[in-house]
């Protein structure tokens, strides 16, 4: 459903603004992609701007040949699937309960939750506690400690609260229980926010390496971002131009680094367009009527 109207000055200005945004956001990625596939002499002299020079794919090949990255990919996908499931289940249940008008103990519970945003006991106590729970070197170390993001919980609760009371009442009249009102009525009506929060959790789990950094020692359990971080950040510690890859090739570090980074955010980029269409105007109403 598109709102009708003539193409006016508003649309032209909007188009230009968004074009500017697109260019501004895209340029470093064009640069990085160009560096990733340019030949070393140009990279070292920093002569690459937005297009590759002396095309060559050594860095990309090195990335594809590196088994650690594929293990990381596999692990990260697993963590995301399991993690998003747990996070969403916990968040939806809690947000729905909190959106209930006049919930008993509402204020103390909210304070109990919000309080955790501000205070953190420090990295070492956190590590000791997680160790005591037996989370070291298990997939739970990646999935559980951040299962609920308080911001996401509050946002979802706000959306649930905004749902017209009548919708829920109609469900009750049809004889649905509190729980089935959630699954049959509230959730289908909240598709945009569920997708949004689901997307946030996906990105969060995908990008999170700090948890694994503290709690995972087994390289076979490393998520992709930790592998990347080890290659990129640690590789920068010394003044080196070239890196030796797993297969023994020498590759310009800069190209390798960018190739890895781009490959690392690719999967999330691929998912997004599929979610996007639900963000368009009228998506909610469409789902109500449909």
């Amino acid at each position: 459903m598109v709102r009708k109207g003539r193409v006016g000055a508003f649309d032209v200005v909007n188009f230009l603004l968004l074009l500017f945004v697109a260019i501004a956001m895209l340029f470093p990625f064009l640069h990085m992609a160009s560096v990733a596939i340019s030949s070393p002499e140009y990279v070292v002299r920093n002569e690459i701007s937005f297009y590759p020079k002396g095309l060559q794919f050594d860095a990309l090949r090195a990335v594809f040949e590196d088994n650690r990255l594929w293990i990381g990919y596999r692990n990260s996908i697993g963590y995301v699937i399991l993690g998003v499931f747990i996070s969403m289940a916990l968040t939806i249940m809690a947000a729905y309960a909190l959106s209930r008008r006049g919930l008993v103990f509402y204020k103390p519970i909210m304070l109990y939750i919000v309080f955790t945003i501000m205070f953190f006991g420090g990295m070492i106590p956190f590590y000791l506690v997680m160790r005591a729970y037996g989370l070291m070197d298990t997939i739970w170390a990646v999935v559980l400690p951040n299962a609920i993001n308080t911001y996401n919980l509050i946002v979802m609760r706000t959306f649930f609260s905004g749902m017209p009371v009548e919708v829920e009442e109609s469900g009750r009249i049809d004889g649905l229980s509190d729980f089935t009102v959630l699954t049959r009525i509230v959730m289908p009506l909240s598709k945009p926010v569920l997708l949004t929060i689901g997307m946030f959790y996906t990105v969060e789990i995908w990008n999170n390496f700090q948890g694994a950094l503290l709690l995972i020692r087994d390289p076979n359990l490393y998520p992709l971002q930790l592998v990347i971080r080890n290659l990129v950040v640690v590789g920068q510690a010394g003044d080196v131009l070239e890196a030796t890859t797993a297969s023994g090739h020498k590759v310009i570090l800069e190209s390798l680094k960018y190739a890895i980074i781009l490959l690392g955010c690719l999967p999330v980029l691929i998912i997004y367009p599929f979610i996007q269409k639900h963000f368009e105007q009228g998506a909610l109403i469409g789902s109500v009527k449909g």
Binding site: R3, V21, A97, G122, V193, L269, Q276
Partner: protein, 302 residues
């Protein structure tokens, strides 16, 4: 007609049951590790642990507040957070509305996808790109400035430029991703409202003002309150990577200070004391904003 607490618990039991796993989660993964806060009142000995470290009362708090640099650092943090809030908070709202109003769907989707790319860059990579762009000898930005006939600007060594650079790069990196939440809110607006507005003769601007923006006010208010919490809570990495002896007058903030003293220097207790003080102030800020927001409108955190 107020029901007894017992009655209300009984009435809400299914909701409390739904909440239970979340409450347990917060207990296990947030409150239990929070015992670490006590080290701020101790001379924490890592090897002996919390049980055998000596208590020192408020020593570390006094140490921070008697440090002549402390006020400068607090001021830098506050100003950076405040400017960031003022400039970076509205940006995703504005961009989300631009997306919403864009009628070329394919173009819109393309820009949308592109716009949140920067979010995926780590601050290490972002900073190295900034250093490259802003260099007064080889950076593209200064080349452009020079080609316009001006002197190159030594952006990163000038204290007066630090905040601008920090906030501009923040906006660049976070705005696209920040639109997602508002786009979700926009998607929930009933198109019939626009129909009605058009019937009343409202043009595009009026529709935006009277239908679009009111439609996402609850989301804006919640994000507003949550962003208040971020004013003092500025992540360490970018400020550290872009800071140097030249711009330290503005670039040295609480988190970079805590890093130098607490992590490099091993002053775990000192660092915890500073972080705890920060948490208290933030909590107060959020509390006040929430009270204000409840007075003005309907939306609030609790």
């Amino acid at each position: 007609m107020k029901q007894s607490v017992f009655h209300r618990i009984k009435r809400d039991k299914i909701y409390l049951l739904l909440l239970f796993p979340a409450l347990l989660y917060y207990l296990l993964f947030h409150y239990v590790p929070m015992f670490g806060i006590v080290v701020s009142f101790m001379d924490y000995n890592l090897f002996k642990g919390v049980w055998h470290s000596p208590w020192v009362g408020l020593k570390h708090y006094r140490m921070f507040f008697s440090n002549p640099d402390a006020w400068l650092i607090v001021r830098n943090t506050l100003l950076l957070g405040l400017y960031k809030f003022i400039f970076a908070f509205p940006a995703p709202i504005a961009l989300a509305i631009l997306f919403y109003e864009m009628r070329l769907k394919k173009f819109r989707r393309f820009v949308q996808s592109v716009s949140y790319l920067p979010f995926f860059l780590s601050s290490v990579v972002l900073s190295s790109i900034m250093i490259m762009l802003l260099s007064p000898s080889t950076g593209w930005i200064n080349k452009a400035i020079q080609s316009l006939g001006f002197e190159p600007i030594n952006f990163l060594q000038r204290p007066e430029w630090f905040r601008t650079i920090y906030i501009a790069s923040d906006i660049w990196q976070m705005t696209g991703y920040g639109t997602i939440i508002f786009l979700a809110a926009l998607a929930a607006i009933d198109p019939q409202l626009y129909e009605a507005a058009r019937m009343d003769g409202a043009n595009r601007w009026k529709q935006t003002l009277h239908v679009t923006i009111p439609g996402i006010i609850p989301a804006i208010v919640i994000m507003f309150i949550l962003s208040i919490g971020g004013i003092l809570n500025i992540p360490f990495d970018k400020a550290f990577l872009l800071g140097n002896a030249g711009n330290m007058d503005t670039a040295d903030i609480i988190s970079t200070y805590v890093y130098r003293i607490g992590i490099l220097g091993g002053g775990m207790s000192y660092a915890t004391a500073i972080n705890l003080s920060l948490g208290l102030v933030t909590m107060a800020l959020i509390y006040l904003t929430n009270v204000a927001s409840r007075k003005v409108g309907e939306t609030s955190l609790w």
